[in-house]
Amino acid sequence: MKSFERLVVEQIPRLRRYARALTGDREPADDLVQETLTRAMSRRHLWIRDKEIRPWLFTIMHNLYVNEIEKRARTPVLIAAEEDDTRLVAKGHADGGVILRDLERALKELSEEQREVVLLVGLEQLSYKETARILGIPSGTVMSRLSRGRERLRELMSGKNGVGLRRIK
């Protein structure tokens, strides 16, 4: 039997991957993970031991993310004028950079709600039921957000420059 701490540590890479895709940038993503871990540790007594830890952690992250979005909506922030694309190039994949930028732009076009569903199912490979539980929405809503989100991504990625989806085998 693994300890709670170990179970949490094992999930860090996946929490970071999801946060990176969700926020589109390393720093806010890691801040989100950091906050998630802090909250998870302070609420460890709320975790039911026999339940899988991953959905539990993702639920915490989702709630923090939603709070953050709401907070940002209330306080307008200044956004840097120039965008530095190079900082986000993924390593280890020949097409990683191109795909990342295309996909990142496309993901940004989605609503927060669609983006979360598309990433939890597609990237994190969570089941529809788990996704519904994490986001606190009915399964039917997961399905409709998923198909609308994916359709939108497909349009954005094949429409803009024709590169995105065709480059990968």
Binding site: M1, S3, F4, E5, R6, V8, V9, E10, I12, P13, R14, R16, R17, R20, A21, D30, V33, Q34, L37, T38, A40, M41, S42, R44, H45, R49, A90, K91, G92, H93, D95, G96, I99, L100, D102, L103, E104, L119, V121, G122, L123, Q125, S127, Y128, M143, L146, S147, R150, L153, R154, M157, G164, L165, R166, I168, K169
Partner: protein, 256 residues
């Protein structure tokens, strides 16, 4: 749209691509996709989208975990069983490791004792747990006295950890001989009257905390660890994982 693609809903197609369909439902959708070029193309696009996400973001999985994140989990957990060495081991298994973390590891220490601690604890457990009239010398109603008395005899701060949250009430404690030196036993009971005992004794030269260890003696499971100048062994006829959870609670209660 052909007849076949009409029979397959968008949700079913997605579920098929996401590998969320089973049995006849999966077979039906898979057959329709195989025989309908239009469906096949849509399925392929969905698949490519998922591939694109992995191509774009999977590299994050290989990035070293920032030490700050590990510290958040491990320091807050306050568990001695989670030395960095252990963490590095898990991360290595997962193929994720940060250079910074490796350099800060130290060896963990084995329990140093005259007689094996888990055995001693299991014996004491077996002897006193069935006791109906005199399970303990000093009851939980005299908790302060119990702690003070045992601390004095063991020449260390000995405290019965509070694990009511885990469902165990303190029954009380007693003083025991252990290779000619004083040791202590605290007894706890759950709502059904099932008992677990925490055996405490001083240990020699080493003051290093250790990982949580486990031993079996007959049907008695023992989880033990070192913490400062004391060695602890929690014994009970309960599942190992359950016992480990209680042991972690005890450690935390003793190291607030």
């Amino acid at each position: 749209m052909s007849e076949k693609s009409k029979a397959i809903s968008e949700d079913e197609l997605q579920a098929c691509v996401d590998a969320r369909l089973e049995g006849p439902r999966h077979d039906r959708v898979a057959a329709a996709v195989a025989s309908d070029p239009e469906l096949a193309q849509r399925a392929e696009q969905l698949r490519r989208l998922t591939d694109a996400m992995h191509a774009a973001y999977d590299s994050v999985l290989d990035e070293p975990v920032p030490p700050e994140m590990l510290r958040t989990v491990i320091n807050r957990g306050q568990a001695p069983f989670l030395r960095l060495a252990a963490v590095v081991a898990w991360m290595t298994i997962g193929g994720v490791i940060g250079g910074l973390i490796v350099s800060s590891t130290g060896p963990t220490t084995e329990v140093v004792a005259e007689r094996p601690l888990p055995r001693e604890a299991a014996y004491a457990h077996a002897v006193y747990v069935p006791e109906v009239r005199h399970p303990v010398e000093v009851g939980a109603d005299e908790r302060a006295h119990l702690n003070a008395w045992l601390s004095k005899r063991l020449a260390a701060t000995v405290v019965a950890p509070d694990v009511r949250e885990a469902g165990y009430q303190l029954v009380g404690g007693r003083l025991l001989p252990d290779a000619g030196r004083p040791a202590a036993q605290f007894m706890y009971e759950d709502a059904e009257g099932a008992r677990i005992t925490l055996y405490v004794r001083g240990h020699g030269e080493t003051t290093r905390d250790t990982a949580l260890r486990h031993a079996e003696d007959g049907n008695i499971s023992v989880v033990y660890w070192l913490d400062g100048s004391l060695a602890y062994a929690l014994a009970g006829s309960v599942e190992r994982s359950r016992l480990e959870t209680i042991a972690e609670d005890m450690y935390r209660a003793l190291n607030p």
